[in-house]
């Protein structure tokens, strides 16, 4: 681990620059993706990736150059390119960063259980094959797939102010999905996949629930195929954590990204209905709503000690008792806006520059058990496992859909319904939060697929949440 540190530091020290400040972020990543589809092992897909980004600040103007050439000459050339670019854009630059403080300090961070070897390729295929074979023979089950992805990432950040941050992380993504078809409609039920990922080792596979899940997930796909559509109308909804994560992500996370609020993303990812003046004044949700940026849950996908600009990360409340307090803005956005933020300046790899991203964005548990949440609903729908998401560019009008729905009538869980969809407006929706599940309903989840930025970037984000109830929401089903 970190065996390139010494050589990298030597090369960094030998770099010559006319910039007042520069940094180097080296990223080395290896990954493996395995899959068994309909009892046939698909060929393994491996990858190895390594490179570095040099960022310079020259007369208050920053620019970067990313290269896969890590030789002394290659790094020096990249540094030169970044300097040349900083000079070329200086007359056009939006920001004067001469007075922006730079990161300092040293730290190492490792994922939990990183020292434990991951199961061998043969063992992984055996597990995937076993779950695939557990899907029963039924001609309505037309497709199923069991998969396991694992990525190991080492990052070393150095700068001319003496910062040295090293992070070694392993991310695990188990998944299973089954599709049932009756000649007209098809329904897919899944476990994990885009809705689950954690840091760790083999323990993540167990926590995901993949082991022994094949038959159960297949049965649920068949139940959905036979189920009626979700009824249309206004009802209470009980969102389970694997839908809450998407709800948090789209209608709290993205609108609170400070670079969006400052307008950087208006051409692509969009803007925000939140304004800089809303922090400290806007009642974002009901008093039951407590939202944190929390880098300290070891297994969560975006737990880390420092962000990719070298800022130390600490747990912070963004929303407390419904009141909006703090944006998701890294050091640069804080400098631009004058607002206090968090350590969330992140890049997807060595070839993209850090920007404001979600990291671990969580809802703190409340005081109701799942039976109590259900008992408090007269007419409602339980919804689980996100499958569809759409929200406007200001992150306000949304429509989300889930795989699994169950009616709730007079405080009791009733039959399964398919195509559970709901729509609303972020600015109102969170004020309808009427009950929050306790720690027994709390799950640590996350997704590898959060897209944003120009040039585009996909990063891993973590969301942990209890089950939550929202009152009087517009719900509806599908066509078939």
């Amino acid at each position: 681990m970190f065996e390139t540190t010494t050589l990298l530091k030597q090369r960094f020290a030998a770099l010559r620059s006319r910039a007042e400040f520069f940094s180097l972020r080296h990223v080395r990543q290896s990954s493996q993706h395995l899959s068994v589809r309909k009892n046939v092992a698909e060929p393994p897909s491996l990858s190895r990736d390594e490179g570095a980004m040099l960022t310079v600040r020259l007369n208050g103007v920053e620019a970067y150059a990313a290269t896969g050439d890590l030789s002394q000459q290659g790094l020096q050339l990249a540094l030169q390119q970044a300097e040349d670019l900083a000079e070329r854009i200086s007359a056009h630059a939006l920001l004067d960063l001469r007075n922006q403080p730079v990161a300092q300090g040293r730290a190492d961070y490792c994922s939990p259980n990183l020292e434990q070897p991951f199961p061998s390729l043969g063992d992984c295929y055996e597990l995937l094959g076993r779950e695939s074979a557990a899907v029963p023979h039924d001609e309505r089950l037309v497709n199923w797939q069991v998969s396991l992805g694992v990525s190991t990432v080492e990052q070393i950040y150095l700068n001319t102010a003496g910062a040295e941050n090293r992070q070694a992380q392993r991310f695990v993504f188990p998944g299973l999905s089954v599709t049932a078809y009756d000649g007209q409609d098809s329904q897919t039920r899944s476990l994990g996949r885009e809705n689950f990922g954690q840091q760790g080792g083999a323990d993540v596979i167990s926590r995901c629930g993949l082991i022994g899940a094949g038959a159960k997930v297949a049965d649920q796909a068949l139940q959905l195929l036979l189920a009626p559509n979700t009824p249309q109308g206004r009802r209470d909804i009980l969102l389970m954590p694997d839908q809450m994560m998407l709800q948090i992500h789209e209608s709290i996370g993205h609108p609170l990204e400070l670079d969006r609020i400052l307008g950087d993303e208006r051409n692509y990812a969009g803007t925000s209905f939140v304004k800089t003046t809303d922090f400290g004044t806007l009642q974002y949700g009901s008093r039951l709503l407590n939202v944190t940026f929390d880098p300290d849950i070891p297994e969560q996908l975006a737990s880390y000690s420092h962000d990719d600009d070298g800022t130390a990360a600490h747990k912070q409340f963004l929303i407390r008792e419904g009141l909006l307090i703090r944006p998701l803005g890294g050091a640069l956005s804080q400098f631009r806006s004058g607002l206090d933020g968090v350590a969330n300046s992140r890049a997807c790899g060595w070839n993209r520059a850090p920007i404001d991203r979600m990291a671990n964005l969580n809802i703190e548990p409340g005081d109701k058990s799942l039976p109590q949440l259900i008992a408090g609903i007269e007419h409602g729908v339980l919804m689980s496992t996100n499958r569809s998401w759409s929200i406007d560019d200001a992150r306000n009008k949304f429509q989300f859909g889930c795989e699994w729905g169950q009616l709730i009538e007079n405080g009791e869980l009733k039959g399964v319904v398919k195509n559970p969809n709901y729509r609303g407006i972020s600015a109102d929706f969170w004020r309808n939060l009427s009950a929050v599940g306790d720690a027994s309903t709390f799950q640590v989840l996350g997704t590898p697929n959060c897209g944003k930025g120009e040039p585009n970037q996909v990063v891993r984000v973590g969301h942990a949440s209890p089950a939550c109830v929202f009152s009087q929401i517009d719900v509806f089903g599908g066509d078939a």
Partner: protein, 445 residues
């Protein structure tokens, strides 16, 4: 970058080394992606962030007696380092192959085909482009990105196939924002930068911006006549490209065009779509080594060809037509209609003029029912006259309605839309689309 990384000679040398290192009964395929890109982001018509990215990678597939495994590897541009990495990759794959079950769907193209396409049009000087943007955008709130540089793609196999595709290109993707928060989107992309062409597009955007200053109209949910400009239609087509035409998705019953390909329903006879590889910016060969064919996907509203990669070909007994792993179109072309662009407002009469749509997803995928939102310059039109910009609205409708029973006309003029996508690397896909006049669009929120 080591200029060499964008050179066919560098790729050929890697292939030659592999042909020495990998002998019967082993075989290999090697695909190659490289780019030297400059990215300049704008906010408030100033440069917000700028950088240079130089990257190259190979995807190596090693095959032995029915077993296969893949390894994707970033190259450094340093000769010794890269050959060491390639040697280690071969060794790792050799160790893995015995652990992997024989692949019943392994089907390789063993033809020794050759393909070579190089476009070395000189790229515009970024200082000159920056200055022109500064001058043109003076007084406007411009936000967006300029991406420029060479892109290379290569493919080779141990059976002697060798393909090389290299092109210089730029893509300026931007929006102009009115002080009231409304915006118009524009794009200028291609191989030859022309100051006049850029000025013309900027001018066209500023003209639309003037309309956006009018008081905003808020619509109630309901059903409206609507014109979808090519960029808006591109969002709908883009959704269909995710699995819609894929042989595997169709077989797995999760294609959004399942019912079309099953013959249960059809689109409007006005709808004809093709995967038009020839003449596009995409390579003429797939990442798995098959020459790519021009295909008619939908003809006069009825399903025709599907996109078939080698794996689907083997699994379903089909003939591979050069589709990539995801079996998505990369050069989709839709046949034009007969509505002159100049008559769109008149034909629309009263309804919505929608320049762009945003963030589409499915409400009911087997029914091809999708939802999404208006974004950028969307106008309320009465009696053929633009009246007011419209606040963001959500639609929820089936493709069988939008491009089926309720499609009234397609425009005679089409727009070539080059991908602005830069996830991992700059994309080379494109669409060529008309605008669509629809006599019933359902708005829900």
């Amino acid at each position: 970058m080591p200029a060499a990384l964008n050179s066919v000679d560098t790729f050929r040398a890697l292939v030659d080394w592999l042909r020495e290192a990998v002998k019967e009964p082993e075989h290999f395929t090697l695909s190659y992606n490289a780019e030297a890109s400059q990215f300049i982001r704008f906010n408030h018509a100033r440069v917000r962030q700028a950088g240079q990215v130089q990257q190259a990678s190979v995807s190596l597939k090693l095959i032995r007696e029915g077993h296969q495994a893949d390894l994707h590897l970033t190259l450094s541009g340093e000769y010794d380092v890269d050959y060491q990495r390639l040697a280690e990759a071969v060794q790792q794959l050799r160790e893995i192959l015995p652990l992997v079950a024989p692949d019943p769907y392994l089907q390789l193209n063993t033809d020794a085909w050759q393909s070579h396409a190089v476009q070395e049009q000189p790229l515009p000087d970024s200082a000159q482009v920056l200055e022109q943007i500064r001058q043109g955008a003076q007084g406007f709130d411009l936000v967006g990105i300029y991406a420029v540089g060479p892109i290379s793609r290569g493919y080779a196999s141990s059976w002697g196939a060798f393909g090389w595709h290299q092109a210089n290109s730029f893509n300026l993707d931007w929006s102009l924002f009115h002080a009231n928060g409304e915006a118009v989107k524009a794009n200028y992309a291609g191989e030859n930068w022309s100051n006049e062409a850029f000025a013309q597009r900027l001018n066209s955007a500023t003209e639309q911006l003037a309309f956006l200053g009018r008081p905003l109209k808020t619509l109630a949910p309901g059903q409206y006549r609507a014109y979808l400009a090519p960029a808006a239609l591109d969002e709908i087509i883009g959704m269909l490209c995710w699995g819609g035409f894929s042989a595997q998705s169709i077989a797995n019953k999760d294609s959004p065009l399942q019912r079309l390909y099953g013959g249960d329903t059809h689109l409007s006879p006005l709808v004809t779509m093709a995967e038009q590889v020839s003449g596009s910016l995409s390579p003429a060969f797939s990442g798995e080594g098959y020459p790519r064919s021009d295909l008619t996907l939908i003809q006069a509203g009825k399903a025709r060809d599907r996109l078939i990669n080698s794996r689907s070909a083997a699994e379903y007994g089909l003939i591979c037509n050069g589709a990539d792993a995801g079996e998505s179109p990369s050069a989709l072309s839709m046949t034009a209609g007969d509505l002159p662009l100049a008559e769109v407002l008149q034909q629309l009469g009263t309804g919505l003029y929608i320049s762009n749509l945003w963030y589409l997803n499915y409400s009911d995928q087997p029914a091809a029912r999708m939802t999404g939102l208006t974004r950028f310059a969307t106008f309320w039109v009465e009696n053929g006259q633009i009246q007011a910009p419209v606040s963001t609205m959500r639609f929820d409708d089936s493709v069988y309605s939008l491009l089926g029973t309720h499609l009234e006309a397609l425009t005679r003029e089409r727009e070539l839309i080059l991908s602005t996508g830069t996830y991992s690397e700059r994309q080379t896909s494109s669409t060529h689309l008309p605008g669509a006049l629809i006599n019933r669009l359902t708005l829900t929120l």
